[in-house]
Symmetry: C2
Subunit: 207 residues, 2 copies
DNA sequence: AAGCGCATCCCCCGGACGGGTGAGTCAGGG
DNA sequence: CCCTGACTCACCCGTCCGGGGGATGCGCTT
């Protein structure tokens, strides 16, 4: 039996979700709240397996609630519901601890399947969301590609640079003198068109 | 009509995929190669819509091929096929430009559906892959959470720091003197338990 | 009113860093 | 065989940075 809690400020939608859940075998609804503030103090005793969460809530947002819930009850799986959103909102929700991300206007079967999938340890997301996630990785790849015309030693140096190592520490790791690393660094800056460590790290790790 | 090309070194599997595709309405197979080296010179004239790519290939790997293909023909959608892989392999493939990532032992219908979905602009991935991707974001979120007990001004400073700005530039952006930023930085280092810019940026952006 | 956290600014010091120049070795290609 | 590119090391110089003080004012809590 999967134990769920709903937090959604839209009354008809919240009730529709509750009806959907109680009418399905294997699913159980422990509570339905219209705000994060109302839900938060009850979650400790309810301990749901899956939390259905609206991203847009009056007062504390669904994202903030997700963060808090994940801090205290990491085992709770969070399924984020939302209207149309951009990349920023989606990544913020995923970073806050959401394991699934669905746009609201989905078929009942899709929503129920998502609840079960997230409880199984899956990560249900609508195809627009999956696409954005994939593009996020593509962008990362393109950023790292700027390091393509670095020499082997320069790539080694950049690798340690991106871990926050100082010149001396990189020198020790690579078994050369600090002067050599100094030279590598200058070449890296030239090729990456930057003028400082911080800029190089930011360019490599992406911001 | 979706035009596909297969690159897979396992002979039976390659032929099975080809048969699967030619026997399906709306799908067309332009070629099936057993190595990246064999496929690469032909892709320019074949121009497939979707490229089915094995991750493990003798010689040039599927990941390297994906990188090259995406460089020259960004419109080609890449669907990566693989046996069981870890997070590193998966992220590397996604960064190389793959839009979908499937474990090989999938039902024929799942593979065909994935080809169509990736062509529609979706991002089909098996649930294990989706889970790893989601956990990647969770880890990012936990890293950024270390910045939680920073003050508002310190967060502002960290934001610019992570863009590679130097002290003076941050000062200009925030409309204060460099001395003030200097103070903020010292507090940031203290709270993040680091002793340099590079370490702070690496901790914040994660690596 | 007193205390506290925050933000702002200031001074000082030693070491780290960015940038310029030069130079030796060694492998590979013309 | 010489030339080139990669890697290595060295020295110099001016600036930036990390870390240590201290100071003021503001708003909030007690």
């Amino acid at each position: 039996m999967i134990r769920t809690v709903i937090v959604e400020d839209n009354d008809p939608l919240r009730q529709w979700l509750a009806v959907l859940i109680v009418g399905t075998d294997g699913l159980e609804n422990l509570g339905a709240f219209s705000s994060a503030e109302a839900a938060l103090p009850r979650l400790g005793s309810l301990r749901p397996d899956v939390l259905l969460l609206d991203r847009h809530l009056p007062g504390m947002s669904g994202v903030q609630l997700a963060r808090r819930v994940k801090e205290r009850f990491p085992a709770t799986q969070i399924l984020m519901l939302t209207v149309e959103d951009g990349p920023e909102e989606i990544f913020e929700a995923l970073e806050a601890g959401a394991s699934g991300y669905l746009v609201k206007r989905q078929s009942p079967t899709a929503i129920l399947a998502a609840i079960q999938e997230v409880h199984r340890g899956g990560a249900p997301m609508s195809s627009q969301v999956a696409r954005l996630v994939v593009e996020h990785f593509h962008a990362r790849g393109r950023r790292k590609a700027v390091a393509d015309d670095l020499t082997a030693r320069e790539r080694d140096t950049l690798e340690f640079l991106a871990k926050g190592y100082r010149t001396k520490e990189i020198a020790r790791e690579l078994g050369v003198t600090a002067d050599t690393i100094h030279t590598h660094l200058r070449h890296i800056y030239e090729k990456l068109h930057v003028r400082s460590r911080g800029e190089a790290i930011a360019r490599y790790l992406g911001g």
